[in-house]
Amino acid sequence: MMDVLKEDQVLDCSGMLCPMPVVKASKAIKTMEIGQVLKMIATDPGAPPDMEAWCRQTGHEMLRSQQEDGKFIFYLRRAK
């Protein structure tokens, strides 16, 4: 059973292609406190691998990556 993740902010990048998803995620995370969770929605097929690479590079956490109704949903936690 998936535990409920409560997001502090939602970022909708539907319809946007590279590099917008990672750029917008970067901007949004900076406005949040350490430990807060950003829920990001994207339709770019490149977003799943890009967001994972972004997390590895920035040190922020990918709590969950899933697909819902043809969209990609990422739960990201600001780690630093």
Binding site: L17, P19, M20, V23, A25, D50, Q57
Partner: protein
């Protein structure tokens, strides 16, 4: 800086040497994505790439001599949009305004797919403190002045760029 200090952020050094619309995307996309990952980025704009530092971007594209360019229409029903039109080079060079048309259609295609404009991407780079370096030599050769370019750029030569690139993790020529 990056090589000598393991805790320092990664560095990307790009040379942007082309000024057509199709070649304007790669440097700004790479720079924005790297900036979004916390990297340090510097782009050296030289030769025709220098035109990408003008306040008003007028980059155009031509299908002439570009057989790899898909010639698809960004409007109409799906079946129509998927047609790759085989347009003879002779027609491209003899019809006035063909390049302007190709430029408009390419911009429309990118807009339809949700890709940001060059202007938007350049602005993102500025906001992410990407170093934009205009080539002094190119300016002299083509008669450009400092006032012809956006205020956020700096002017330098090959040595300026090479010093920056020498400590970069990724160095690319576009």
């Amino acid at each position: 800086m990056s090589k000598s200090d393991p805790n320092a952020p990664k560095r990307l050094a790009l040379i942007a040497s082309k000024g057509t619309l199709d070649w304007a995307y790669p440097p700004f996309i790479l720079a924005s994505a790297a900036g979004a990952m916390g990297w340090e980025v510097g782009i050296f704009f030289t030769f025709y790439g220098l035109t990408l530092l003008k306040p008003k971007l007028t980059a155009a594209v031509t299908p002439v001599g570009n057989p790899a360019m898909p010639m698809k229409m960004p409007f109409g029903p799906d079946g129509f949009q998927s047609i790759n039109w085989p347009i003879p080079q002779l027609l491209m060079t003899n019809v006035p305004g063909f390049n302007a048309l190709a430029t408009t259609l390419m911009k429309q295609t990118f807009e339809n797919k949700g890709v940001a404009t060059i202007e938007e991407m350049r602005q993102m780079c500025v906001e992410m403190d990407v170093r934009l370096i205009g080539c002094q030599m190119t300016m002299d050769v083509f008669g450009f002045k400092r006032e012809d370019f956006i205020k956020e750029c700096e002017i330098g030569g090959a040595a300026t760029f090479l010093e920056y690139a020498g400590d970069a993790d990724v160095q690319l020529f576009i």
